[in-house]
Symmetry: C2
Subunit: 236 residues, 2 copies
DNA sequence: GCGCGTTGTGTGACCTAGTCACTGAAGGCG
DNA sequence: CGCCTTCAGTGACTAGGTCACACAACGCGC
């Protein structure tokens, strides 16, 4: 929809159906046509099915990733099988862990998993650096993204080190619920979000239920009293 | 010492005794004379005594910080008074939290404290951006630093979420000890490094002592068997 | 509908880590 | 020497993580 606005003839190119994608990117939209062309030509389109692994420990990034559509969850996994979600990459964003490992020339320290079907553009480091060199807008875009993620990470550390688990579970539950107040997650999913164990989540949800704040089904939590839960989450 | 090498006449300038400091910076050493001049002129020299606060929550960064000498510890503090060290900035490095908050236009999410007497150069954002625009070496320097810190933060998260406290204490003890195997730290210091409580450290050190790995004095831990401690720290 | 494997949840026992409220020891200093 | 401040030790308790289960809900083939 809204494709009626598009004026220029679609340029057939290596990116096929996604030709012209830079136009939809914050920052990238204002690149010079030359740079834009260069980026679209050099980048390789990569597709991932929902649930598929995008990157993981042991691999090195082959280029900078820009997410064109879908969402990627980036998490860390312990030998014991516990998990914690570090951040999510949405369409229009790039992945900081990829950027960091690309520039530090290290292999990934975490895993990226497609949460939906995903289309991403992978730009070689040289192209990425050329863009950084030539486009102030692109620099802004990259630095702002990098900075916000870094701050997000500071927050994750703070939560994990100082935060109370009951409050964190309540908060995440509120975030994950849709407009009807239903979150389609298993206890295990919630545990993986927060870096805790499934049993801890189960016990806490039982307590929330006892207080009448939620109702539970298999793989499903309904917020019976979202306001109370949110109030509790903020009561730190 | 080794000042015999310095060929050019020292240029008197706003930075006084630190004139010409860009020459000692990785990456910055290769700036064009014009840029260098610009940076040295625009940056404001700031001095801090050991123990003094360099920045903290509530403040916004007034510019990018480059540490010319000394060391700064960056940590987060909980309302309850617990602390965790995120990273340290050494001479020749810049501070990522400052960079992140500068670009995201947010106030600091942690606190920076001078661990020794410190001299730092504070470059206004405009100057910083000009350097990024004009110098590939400076971009490399900044991106590499940013990337390494980010990876360090991933590691901190991993340690805190999945790591065992006894191993973390042993590891940090090994890091903090000098060549003679003596660490001049209080139990509280160790706790603040790792984001735990003083009592936890006390109990663990008592156990290490019982095993003959360390000897303790007031504000002082001697590694009686550094190898054993290191082996234990790595036995995860 | 029935059987059966898979996945999600409930629970108790146990251990580690963090909190609270103390005690007393070690050092600095007048 | 006495006094104050800082550091360290300890016990009781709570929160959170681990282990080993039991069992319920669903998916699916027949």
């Amino acid at each position: 929809m809204k494709e009626t606005v598009a004026p220029a003839a679609p340029r057939p190119g290596a990116l096929g159906a996604h030709a012209g994608w830079t136009g939809r990117f914050a920052g990238l939209a204002r690149l010079s046509p030359t740079l834009r062309r260069k980026l679209e030509d050099a980048a390789r389109l990569r597709r991932f099915a929902a649930g598929e692994r995008v990157f993981g420990p042991g691999e090195k990034p082959r280029g900078m990733l820009f997410l064109l559509s879908g969402a990627v969850r980036v998490h860390q996994t312990s030998p014991g099988g516990r998990e914690i979600v570090l951040y999510r990459v949405a369409a229009g964003e790039s992945c900081v862990m990829t950027a960091a490992c690309l520039f530090a020339e290290q292999s990934y320290h975490g895993e990226g998993v497609a949460e939906t079907d995903v289309v991403a553009a992978e730009a070689p480091r040289a192209t990425f650096e050329a863009l950084l060199a030539d486009s102030p807008e692109f620099r802004d875009f990259v630095f702002a993204a990098y900075s916000h993620r870094m701050i997000e990470l500071f927050r994750v550390v703070e939560d994990v080190v100082f935060g109370r688990m009951d409050l964190r579970i309540a908060e995440r539950l509120c975030q994950l619920a849709d407009e009807e107040g239903v979150a389609r997650v298993t206890h295990q999913d919630l545990a993986a979000e927060l870096g805790t164990a499934r049993e801890v989540v189960s016990r806490q949800l039982a307590e929330f239920q006892r207080r009448g704040w939620i109702e539970q089904g298999r793989g499903r939590v309904r917020l019976a009293d979202r306001a109370a839960l949110a109030r509790f989450a903020a009561s730190a």
